[in-house]
């Protein structure tokens, strides 16, 4: 019974969002429901935070492997949450210079801004930067020019990489840029042609496919065929 009600709630919410696009008086309903969604999603973050606390506290209390790291995570989480919620060090806004809570929590000069600028951003930036090494090493091991499709992939990657660097421009700089029928052979122009023709076509077809997939999933949720979000025993992904 409770699952049926949950499916009904999801279906009605989805239909209201779709109908509000087509029925003018319902436009305000879309805004209201979107605000409810944002608020509920914000409380979902509280759920995530509570889950993080619970998991790390369990690891620390059980002295499980890596409990020191769990303690570091916990301290970092609580400290960031504390300075963010209490707007520690946030300079007052120009509009309300006498109000301590006038500025935004991540305003420049505040503690949350400091944490983002000097802790979060450098670590995440370096983690993504490090992927350059792993992507290159994985590509070196995995890419083999075994058939036409693989050759297309390799050559395109090579041309796009070279065409966006000074080295690539230099390599084909001997090809005249002002002769219409051959200038596209310069690596920087060839790279541009690949992006504007072949990649556009491939990406466009994939976007169309993804949009059809999203629309189909939406319809399945609206009519209650897809209940996978309710968890196991709810009728499975395909109803």
């Amino acid at each position: 019974m409770s699952r049926s009600i949950a499916v009904l709630v999801a279906g009605v919410a989805a239909v209201v969002m779709v109908l509000s696009k087509f029925i003018v008086p319902m436009e305000s309903a879309e805004t209201t429901v979107a605000e409810w969604f944002n608020a509920a999603a914000a409380i979902a973050f509280v759920l995530g935070g509570a889950s993080l606390l619970k998991m790390n506290l369990l690891t620390i209390s059980a002295r499980g492997p890596g409990w020191g790291y769990a303690a570091v995570t916990l301290v970092a989480f609580l400290a960031t949450l504390g300075v963010g919620l209490f707007k520690v060090g946030v300079p007052p806004s120009a509009a309300f210079p006498d109000h301590r809570m006038g500025g935004t929590p991540d305003a420049e000069g505040g503690a949350l801004w400091w944490i983002y600028e000097y802790l979060m951003s450098p670590i995440t930036g370096t983690l993504f930067a490090m992927l350059a090494f792993y992507v290159a090493s994985a590509a070196f091991r995995a890419f083999r020019a075994k058939n036409a499709a693989a050759i297309f992939l390799l050559v395109t990657a090579f041309v796009v990489l070279l065409g966006r660097t000074y080295a690539g421009v230099f390599v084909t700089s001997w090809i005249p840029d002002d002769v219409p029928w051959v200038s596209w052979l310069r690596l920087e122009n060839l790279s541009a042609v690949i992006m504007s023709v072949f990649t556009t076509a491939g990406t466009r077809a994939m976007i169309i496919g993804i949009a059809i997939g999203v629309a189909a999933t939406g319809i399945k949720i609206m009519i209650g065929l897809d209940r996978s979000y309710l968890g196991a025993g709810a009728g499975g992904g395909n109803g």
Binding site: A13, A39, A42, I43, A76, P91
Partner: protein, 330 residues
């Protein structure tokens, strides 16, 4: 049980040589390299870095120092040369000064950057420490900004506008209570029931609401801006007139190639017909288009990562060590 596993560098662990002697030699070599780099940095700090030019030149003994100037209610970062100029004009000036929180921040960022990069050597406790910090900090950051942007303004601000305006958000424009805001608050409270094993079933209602709203929202967005907009571009003219014959031929050829590409890739993704005969031929051409797309995406991804790596190196050598100055910060 060790609170920081991996501190002993167990031989045979992933990334470690199997032979203990080789592992010890590798460790000693790494420590020696780090010691030499540290010694060079200490020597350079002792010698100092000259900032400013001419009569305004000043020597700074340290790295990563950030100078700020009071502007309005806060401070704004200024080049070190500006500090040198201000000190040369008035040694007792207080207008441009060192920002110790930002300087400590540059050091913290530099050490954390090196900690993450140390993973290239092998998994180690310093890397794990940085990883733990980023997990905690990210969760705290996302949660606190969500509370301020959604809960305070859209829930508390509507339920108790007077109190919220007085104590939390002076810029709030709402003046009257809107009790409909109890709905998302109630949904959120029900969502928290998922933390309890006995009451977790109650959490499925707000979850269903969130899923329903999101799917309806996305349905309209994707159909309108992706499906219809992308299909509409396929009805553009295939003949593209240009200023020259070559431009006309080139533009027309490109338009035809794009149309052929979209249709053949869609043929590849169409599984209701067996990929044989003309459909099979079209699907094969579609695969070639897809491979070119993936190759370009791969090239772009690598370029993006390398650009990020260059930015991190620039931070280390420019902001922290002051060895380069491409943006004129010093």
């Amino acid at each position: 049980m060790s609170q920081f596993p991996g501190t002993s560098g167990t031989p045979g662990a992933p990334g470690m040589p199997a032979d203990p002697a080789v592992a010890r030699r590798a460790n000693r070599l790494m420590i020696a390299v780090l010691a030499v780099i540290a010694a060079l940095l200490v020597v350079r700090a002792w010698v100092g870095t000259e900032v400013g030019s001419g009569a305004d030149a000043q020597v700074v003994h340290g790295y990563g120092m950030v100078f700020v100037e009071q502007q309005g209610a806060g401070h704004v970062q200024v080049p070190a040369a500006e500090w040198a100029q201000a000190v040369a004009a008035d040694p007792a000036q207080q207008r441009v000064m060192v920002s110790w929180p930002r300087t400590v921040g540059v050091w913290a960022a530099a050490l954390l950057t090196l900690a993450v990069l140390s993973f290239l050597w092998r998994d180690n406790p310093v890397y794990k420490l940085a990883e733990s910090v980023v997990v905690g900090v990210s969760a705290g950051y996302v949660m606190s900004t969500a509370v301020w942007s959604s809960l305070v303004n859209q829930v508390f601000g509507k339920l108790a506008p007077g109190l919220t305006k007085a104590y939390l958000s002076p810029g709030l424009t709402t003046t009257e209570s809107d009790w409909w805001a109890l709905v998302p608050l109630g949904l959120g409270m029900l969502l928290l029931c998922r933390l309890s094993a006995r009451l977790s079933w109650v959490g499925m209602f707000p979850l269903a609401f969130v899923v329903g709203v999101f799917s309806g929202w996305r349905f309209v967005q994707y159909v309108e801006s992706d499906l219809l907009a992308q299909v509409a571009t396929m009805f553009d003219p295939l003949y593209v007139a240009g200023p020259t014959a070559a431009a006309t031929v080139g533009g027309t050829l490109c338009a035809v190639l794009v149309l052929v590409g979209v249709l053949t890739v869609l043929a590849y993704f169409f599984f209701s017909l067996e990929h044989k005969g003309p459909v099979g031929g079209a699907a094969r051409i579609g695969v070639w288009y897809l491979m070119i797309t993936f190759g370009a995406s791969f090239g772009f991804t690598v370029m993006g990562r390398i650009a990020l790596l260059a930015a991190r190196c620039e931070f280390l050598f420019d902001d922290w060590l002051w060895l380069i100055d491409p943006a004129g910060k010093h």
